[in-house]
Amino acid sequence: MDIQSPIQQMVQMIVSTRSDEIGCDECFEQLDRFAELVLAGKNTAEALPLVLDHLNRCPDCREEFEALLVALQSTTFPPRPQYLPT
């Protein structure tokens, strides 16, 4: 079972702390580029490692990234019914 307890998550977060972590503002600046790299199947750990690291630590930024990804992927979906011509 891979589910981590809260304290395990906390210990994981502490021991993996990096001195060069970026904050939420810097992550947000690069989030659009990061999302496009993900959609293009690129290696984000190589391209934008600090953004990836931040998203693994910050729940708010993570949530925004996941929502952005869905929004971007939806451009391939058909329009919603009310936008179809009558």
Partner: protein, 206 residues
């Protein structure tokens, strides 16, 4: 099919006749937000409000678009943040920090392994000792603000933006406060001879 370049978007939106570009962008953002927020409790009216507020922000910050990603991706990013910021406010509106930070020094954090009957009692004692050390280090190394923030975010699960507001700061500064706290704990753990591998392996079940 949208084939406008970023420059074209910016020029049209800031030009004398932005309506067509605005409507195209509005439609695109609304479509994206509809799917992005599908699992949240939002109404059609909410979505339209979020897009409208998003458009205001996009127009205001047009000059900050740098072309690192496509314009529509950048715009969608801005819009998603506007929407989620409001949704978090709603979600946590009636919750204070006191509601979350009920016990001091994270004394309630109990690893799953301690309640697991099949766990090796010897290992559990080692984990217990480690956790007692972690709790002591937290009490000794972190400031009151750091402990409060850590409790609210990690134990209480409150959104960073909401914790930040209640603590009179912003989300970016809160992240840095927590980062500083983690660095202090990490350094202290190493000083006490607790290596990362050792600590993490203590949680693994055989």
């Amino acid at each position: 099919m949208n084939t406008k370049t970023g420059e074209e978007w910016c020029a049209q939106l800031s030009g004398l006749a932005p309506d067509a570009a605005l409507e195209e962008l509005r439609s695109l953002l609304l479509h994206g937000l509809h799917f992005a927020l599908a699992r949240y409790n939002v109404t059609e009216s909410d979505l339209e409000d979020f897009v409208q507020d998003g458009l205001v922000k996009i127009l205001k910050e047009l000059s900050s678009y740098r072309g690192d990603a496509s314009f529509t991706t950048w715009a969608q990013k801005v819009c998603v943040r506007v929407a989620l910021t409001e949704l978090r406010r709603r979600r946590w509106r009636d919750v204070s920090l006191d509601d979350l930070v009920t016990n001091s020094e994270m004394s309630d954090f109990t690893p799953e392994v301690l309640t697991d009957r099949s766990a090796d009692p010897g290992q559990s004692a080692a984990v217990q000792m480690m956790m007692a050390t972690v709790q002591r280090i937290i009490a000794e190394e972190l400031t009151e603000r750091q402990r409060t923030a850590m409790m609210a975010v990690m134990q209480g699960g409150m959104a960073m933006q909401e914790v930040a507001e209640r603590m009179g700061t912003n989300r970016n500064a809160l992240y840095k406060l927590l980062h500083d706290g983690r660095q202090r704990l990490q350094k202290r753990m190493m000083q006490e001879g607790m290596t990362p591998q050792e600590m993490l392996s203590m949680f693994e079940q055989g």
